[in-house]
Amino acid sequence: MIFHDLRGFLDELERQGQLVHVRQGVRPEPDIAAAGRAVTDLGEASPALLFHALEGYGAARLALNVVGSWANHALMLGLPKTASVREQFHAIAQRWTRFPVPVERVAEAPFQDNVTTEIDLFALLPLARVNPMDGGFYLDKAVVISRDPDDPENPGKQNVGYYRLQVKDKNRLGLQPVPMHDIALHLRKAEERGENLPVAIAIGTDPILASVASAPLRYDQSEYEMAGALAGQPYRVVKSDATGLDLPWGAEIILEGEVVCGARELEGPFGEFTGNYSGLRRQPVIQLTRALYRHKPIFEQCYVGTPWTEVDTLIGLPTCVPIYHQLKADFPEVEAVNALYTHGLATIISTRQRFGGFAKAVAMRTLSTPHGIGYCKIVIMVDETVDPFNLAQVMWALSTRFDPAKDMITVPTASILPLDPLADPPGIATKIILDATTPMAPDRRGDFSRPVEIPPGTREWTAILGDLWAKAKAGER
């Protein structure tokens, strides 16, 4: 199933019992943050929420937790909502290889129904403080589109990414461009030229673009062409007549403006995916010039805080898959990559081994992948027979295959994203590799000669019991 917009996906979630309407009156604070926290705590199949009655905002609608569970994530991919995380990983990894899928260009989009230069974000968007000590109201599930000022016609260098946006006034936003991310490079080039950087902000997009926008693609890879690869159909875009940027056709709301050359203003703090508030920084500012939106637009946000939250589901597999393909290019023995934890600060990799010490080589390569440079503080290596998404199996491997004297490598003063609360100074951390693969010749250690194999017939019995259990749940005897 292909979803061209957020509305189409919400309809599918509703059909699948994965959307909860909140029609009772709620206060923006503290109800939205509390509900956002509570819904992810409902577990791996938690539903999306659609609020219809926020105090002071009339009939404005706010969606939360749209891709906040593995069930919703599976539906986004067109898989059954019961698909395992490992199945979803392999589905994305396989579709990833279809990249690039050229975009579908169309002239008109639903968001062109309403166009205004009199922008008042406080009236347009039902804003709510995400965490109590945030420095303001944030847009935290909006994608920012920009291009390379030195190569503006290159579609690959057009970037679509998540950057937190602080609402500072009716038409003014604070922007956090993480130095390792593409928009920071665009901004640096614009400022070197003495120019403002034109940007567009899309709120409430289809879920696939929301997912791809969080992936660590290479600088010259287009998120739209990757969204087409994952969806199995060209991604539909509309060129902005104001900025020339390609805009996602299905967006609920588009904000257009410019990052102001040389301007830096206080931004933050913001409760982040690390489970800590970020520090205060003086950061760039976006001056908005135009807003476009569908009739009765749906505002979309996500709750961010101590994992697990929607952010962890949304960015999880798009983080795993590029690392997997980058490793696989030289080490086809790599089986799967689990970089779900805190955006891959902890990463688990399963691999076959060619010879003794091979897993350690793969781990060291992981540290130097583009994502590994800023994340991958803890890398755990396991055998190909261990499912890295099954933490019980990973802990078994660590407890029986890992020798601290021989299987641990630490890398002092390595690079890390500044948001890591343990970074000292910010941007620097010690990294560690834990090799929990079975030693292989010529590394002869321990006795692994008599493993307990899975009993014959187990697979058949899995099917038999699954069937009987389904009948038991349905009340049959």
Binding site: R27, P28, E29, P30, E55, G56, Y57, G58, A60, D120, F122, A123, R129, P132, M133, G135, G136, F137, Q166, V167, K168, D169, K170, G174, P177, P179, A184, L187, R188, E191, E192, R193, G194, G262, R264, E265, L266, E267, P269, Y277, L280, R281, R282, Q283, P284, P418
Partner: protein
């Protein structure tokens, strides 16, 4: 309409918005530390005396807060 900023105690804060539908609340913003708040939030957010001291800001020290990313120098113009 002006107000005291709960975070940096500046008297320059001003009203940015009122509730678009029923006037249920107002939103204020501080031009010194860029804090924004809604009048309907708890005292721990709106009252300068109750704002969590770990998150208070001294306006005198804003100039010492890091600039990220730094503003690069302009490229020489090619002739």
């Amino acid at each position: 309409m002006s107000a005291i900023c709960p975070r940096c105690d500046s008297a320059k804060a001003r009203r940015l918005a009122t509730a678009p539908v029923d006037g249920a609340w107002e939103i204020f913003g501080c031009p010194v530390c860029f804090f924004t708040w809604r009048s309907s939030e708890p005292d721990s957010i709106t009252d300068p005396k109750r704002y969590d001291p770990r998150f208070k800001i001294d306006p005198q020290r804003i100039d010492a807060i890091p600039i990220v990313p730094p503003v690069p120098g302009k490229r020489p113009q090619s002739s």
